[in-house]
């Protein structure tokens, strides 16, 4: 470990460091104390040994004194008794004394030497005294004895001094030892106390340094555990507590985050619940186990009689069974058990289709759809108001239709009534003119011609008014035929010649057509050219009027140029409006109804062209238009000659509402790729307008849009009788799936949208609505054949044995396609088609007429106007039938009403 690492280790691991340091300090204190006491002990021991030595010495000195006394006794005795025994005893005592002195010599040599010398002198004198006594010399003896006594006293005194000195020393030493022992005890006690106090303080300090942060970490953790915000967090650092603090803080942060997430989730959930509660529809969510997961108040209201029993966790079957308990035992015309089975089956196959059901006396539109986890969302919309509104609308429409029809009828009969006398006026004027010419009544001719021209003018006015009213009623028909163009131009030129000449104009026709043919409505083309030329003639005086016709790519271009009064921009803008001429004075000056150009414009539009005008005041005007050489009949338009091959239906229309141009284009591309026809709207209002103008098969709706968001579009669509059943697919950046489903969307896609997802959803939507066919045929074999063909293609087949039964079925169930036989008992195919036309909601249903009847041209024409396709039964017809059905399968889901 490097130095830095070591430092770091210490910085990061203070607990072992602190505890180690504490132990080290305490161990040191114990060691030092012990050493100190051992030292004191050893010093005490040496003192005790000293004392012992000194006591020993004292005893030796005392012995020496005793031995000296004994020796003196025996020497004295010897002097008296002169016995050898005394002498011997004295010698023994001297020996003992000598041994004692030998021991004492080591530490008091001078004194011992003195004693020895004194003793030796004493003994010598004592023996000299004894010898003197023995010799009987008493005087001498006494002298010697006196000398010996002096010596012995000196020695005795020396010995006594020595003993006293030694006793003193021993005493002092002993006292010293006991004092020192006392001091050592005091020191030891003090040192122990100090050690204990310091150790305790140190331990306390270290423990405090460990336990205080540990305690705060502990408190923080237990606070977090209780879910309370800890009052304070320990400071962070590199050591254990710092790290613990970090962990605790991280824990707290994650807990905060979790709490916030929980709060947000709860809020979101509450918002969703509130939203679901506030939607006007009944909402119920069943889990994958068919148990009721949640529902709103409206749902409970709708099922009011069993409202109390509704609870989360009840199964769909229990829910259905509860419903059967409250009613009379017959549901949708079947026994309760069958009904429950049927409803359960439907629940399991929930597909997003709408179903109108009667619940507790009220009409409810029920949409069930599977969620991604296999559950089912059910939305129950109260549609009583809507049905009422629908009925009112139907009534209003019937009234309006009746009014329109009355108006058309009126106009038709009126024009007939007006024209019949007019015919007579014109005819008889012509005749009279001829006869006047024959008879030479020249004066009458001019007047007769005035009658004639006025009659013709009146006729043209009536015709214009009739044309216009037909155009307005959408009843103007095209009669397409093939004819050579050059003769028509000649014819028009000839017809208009009198008008041209009237204002001294000149007509120049530029047309190099050879025998070019055109296939269009001859009468209307003629009328257009005549209108434009007569206008030109009317507004030009002494000028040139030019009619130019040329071929263009796939059509013919016509232009009529005049050198007349021309028009201002403002006049031009009102030009094609009915009853408008350039200004009101024009009518006075030039005559005319002002209907001609409006009619012309409409006719040209019908013939697949467009009229344009270039003009300036005083500079004349040029009207030009181009129409295709071969007019494609509009769907439902009659064309002579063709048999059985109706145009394939339009591709299904999908409306995309999104404020982002790129998103719109991307979605449009995906839709086109998959055979759908996209319509694009950039705002909620535009989208709704487009949806109402042409109800789409489905709507792809962006939720997040400025101004009005997708929710409001969804709400408005659901409240609109026509659009309420149009499936809406939400496209969002946020996941509001449940909310979307609750508001009635059929599905939900998250941006960016994947093509396969979009198409899967759309096919699902289209499939659920389109693949439903009714076979109406009295022949069992035919019905079986069709059923086989269609079932294989995945269609749901219903059958009817005649027209009457078909109409009965249609009252409750609208299929997306009908196969219709013509020759049937009760109500035949023609009658059925006629009936369908009388029902607004059935008019758009495609019908394939399958017949073995030999059809007249008239019947065929009528059928083609009223049915999608006519297919003949028989060997070749079967292939035709399959291909006709395929066309519908592939291209045309029913336009939902």
């Amino acid at each position: 470990m490097s130095r830095g690492g070591l430092r770091d280790w210490f910085a990061g691991n203070t607990i072992p460091f602190r505890v180690g340091a504490l132990s080290a300090v305490l161990l040191c204190a114990v060691a030092i104390g012990t050493a100190f006491m051992v030292y004191d002990l050893s010093r005490n021991q040496s003192r005790v040994e000293d004392a012992n030595t000194e006591f020993h010495r004292l005893r030796t000195a005392a012995e020496a004194e005793q031995n000296f006394s004994e020796m003196r006794y025996w020497l004295t005795d010897l002097s008296v008794s002169l016995l050898t025994l005394s002498e011997r005893r004295a010698a023994e005592a001297q020996e003992k004394l000598e041994a004692n002195l030998e021991q004492l010599a080591a530490f008091a040599p001078a004194t011992v030497e003195d004693i020895r010398t004194g003793t030796a002198a004493y003994v010598d004198k004592a023996f000299k005294a004894a010898d003197a006594y023995t010799d009987g010399n008493r005087v001498l003896g006494n002298t010697f004895l006196a000398q010996a006594r002096t010596d012995s006293d000196a020695v005795g005194t020396a010995l006594q001094d020595l003993v006293a000195r030694l006793a003193d020393e021993a005493d002092r030493t002993n006292r010293l030892a006991s004092e020192e022992a006392q001091a050592a005890v005091t020191r030891a006690v003090t040192a122990s106390i100090v050690s204990i106090i310091v150790g305790a303080l140190l331990t306390l300090w270290v423990l405090r340094r460990i336990l205080v942060p540990l305690g705060s970490v502990n408190r923080a953790i237990s606070a977090l555990n209780r879910g309370v915000d800890p009052e304070e967090l320990p400071p962070e650092g590199p050591d254990e507590f710092g790290r613990m603090a970090q962990t605790v803080r991280a824990l707290k942060e994650s807990q905060d985050k979790r709490q916030q997430l929980e709060r947000e989730t709860r809020e979101k959930h509450d918002t969703l619940l509130t939203a679901i509660e506030t939607i006007p529809d009944g909402f119920a969510l069943f889990g994958p186990d068919e148990k009721l997961v949640m529902f709103n108040r409206k749902f409970r209201d709708i099922f009011a009689p069993i409202g109390e029993t509704l609870q989360v966790g009840m199964s769909c079957e229990e829910f259905l069974r509860a419903q059967t308990k409250t009613e009379d035992g017959i549901f949708d015309g079947m026994p309760a058990e069958d009904w429950i089975r049927e409803r359960l089956e439907r629940h399991r196959q929930a597909h997003g289709e709408n179903e109108t059901v009667m619940i507790n006396g009220g009409w409810v539109r029920l949409a069930k759809r599977k969620t991604s986890d296999g559950g089912v969302v059910a939305v129950y919309s109260d549609i009583n108001d809507m049905i009422e509104k629908q009925q009112e609308l139907d009534q209003a429409r019937r009234d309006a239709e009746a009014a329109t029809s009355a108006k058309s009828q009126f106009l038709a009969s009126m024009s007939h009534e007006l024209r019949t006398p007019l015919n007579a006026i014109i005819g008889y004027s012509e005749m009279l003119t001829e006869e006047a010419e024959d008879l030479g009544f020249d004066s009458a001719i001019a007047d007769l011609e005035k009658i004639l021209s006025s009659g013709r003018h009146l006729l043209s006015l009536i015709n214009d008014v009739l044309d216009l009213s037909k155009i307005e009623a959408g009843k103007m028909e095209l009669y397409v035929e093939s004819f050579a163009l050059a003769p028509l131009i000649d014819d028009v030129s000839a017809t208009v010649a009198p008008l041209i000449e009237k204002n001294a104009n000149r007509l120049v026709v530029t047309a190099d057509l050879g025998d070019a043919e055109i296939e269009t409505d001859k009468t209307k083309l003629r009328q257009n050219l005549f209108n434009l030329l007569s206008n030109a003639a009317k507004f030009t005086r002494q000028g040139t009027i030019e009619l130019a016709v040329s071929r263009t790519d796939g059509g013919f271009a016509f232009s009529v140029r005049d050198e007349g009064i021309g028009m201002t921009e403002e006049q031009k803008s009102r030009l094609f409006q009915a009853f408008m001429q350039a200004d009101s004075s024009t009518t006075r000056n030039y005559g005319g109804t002002g209907l001609g150009l409006a009619i012309t414009q409409e006719f040209i539009r019908m013939m697949g062209g467009r009229i344009e005008v270039e003009t300036a005041p005083g500079k004349g005007s040029t009207f030009s238009f181009t129409i295709p050489a071969r007019l494609q009949p509009e769907p439902g338009e009659t064309r002579s000659g063709d048999v059985a091959e109706a145009e394939a239906g339009d591709k299904p229309l999908v409306l995309v509402i999104d404020d982002e141009a790129r998103a719109r284009e991307t979605l449009a591309g995906m839709l086109r790729d998959e055979g759908f026809r996209p319509a694009l709207a950039s705002s909620a209002d535009e989208g709704l307008k487009m949806a109402r103008a042409e109800p789409p098969m489905a709507v792809v709706l962006d939720v997040l849009m400025p101004e009005r968001d997708g929710w409001s579009v969804l709400r408005e669509m659901k409240a609109d009788p026509v659009l309420s059943t149009t499936p809406v697919i939400l496209v969002t950046q946020v996941t509001d799936r449940e909310m979307g489903l609750a508001f009635g969307a059929v599905d939900h896609l998250t941006k960016p949208v994947a093509q396969d997802q979009l198409i899967a959803v759309l096919n699902d939507v289209v499939g659920s609505q389109a693949r439903d066919v009714m076979i109406v045929d009295d022949d069992v074999a035919s019905r079986q054949l069709f059923r086989r063909i269609l079932s294989r293609e995945g269609w749901r087949v219903t059958e009817a044995v005649d027209g009457a039964q078909a109409m009965k079925h249609l009252a409750t169930h609208r299929p997306s396609l009908m196969l219709l036989d013509l020759m049937m008992p009760n109500l035949d195919g023609f009658d059925v088609l006629g009936e369908l036309q009388n029902h607004e909601e059935l008019r758009s249903m495609p019908v394939i007429v399958v017949t073995s009847k030999d059809l007249s041209r008239e019947e065929l024409a009528w059928l083609k106007k009223n049915a999608a396709t006519v297919v003949r039964k028989g060997a070749s017809g079967r292939a035709e039938l399959i291909s006709a059905i395929r066309r519908h399968i592939a291209a045309k889901p029913a336009e939902e009403s």
């Binding site: 019949t420 015919n423 005749m431 015709n463 009669y479």
Partner: protein
């Protein structure tokens, strides 16, 4: 001169048309409803029939169909006289077997052209 059968229920129209055509040298026979028209055609075997479409008893379409279905009268050209701008009437007329049509009100020169064309003049 060619013989023309006019089937027309309106007196004035009939009078006018027959007089004007007679002035141009045609021999005119007339009938006032479809059924009478069919009888008259079989009886007179005219060179051409001008047939109004809205007729009492039997309408023009029906009468034309009957005539075209009967062997002896099938070859007689029939010009339908139809109301103004009713494409469906015209189509119905042609579908019923009429050889041509002319829109009312009648302007004689145009009708004469059609008559001449059908008579092969």
């Amino acid at each position: 001169m060619a013989k023309i059968l006019i089937v027309e229920d309106n007196d004035m129209n009939l009078d006018m048309l027959s007089r004007r055509l007679a002035r141009r040298g045609f021999e005119i026979v007339s009938a006032r409803d479809g059924a009478a028209g069919v009888d008259m055609a079989k009886q007179e075997m005219p060179d051409l029939i001008l047939m109004d479409m809205s007729l009492p008893v039997m309408d023009g379409w029906e009468a034309t169909k009957t005539l075209k279905a009967a062997g002896e009268t099938a070859a007689i050209p029939v010009i339908a006289l139809t109301a103004h701008a009713m494409a469906s009437d015209r189509e119905k007329a042609l579908a019923a077997g009429c050889d041509d049509y002319y829109t009312k009100p009648i302007e004689l020169p145009g009708l004469l052209e059609k008559i001449d064309a059908l008579l092969g003049n």
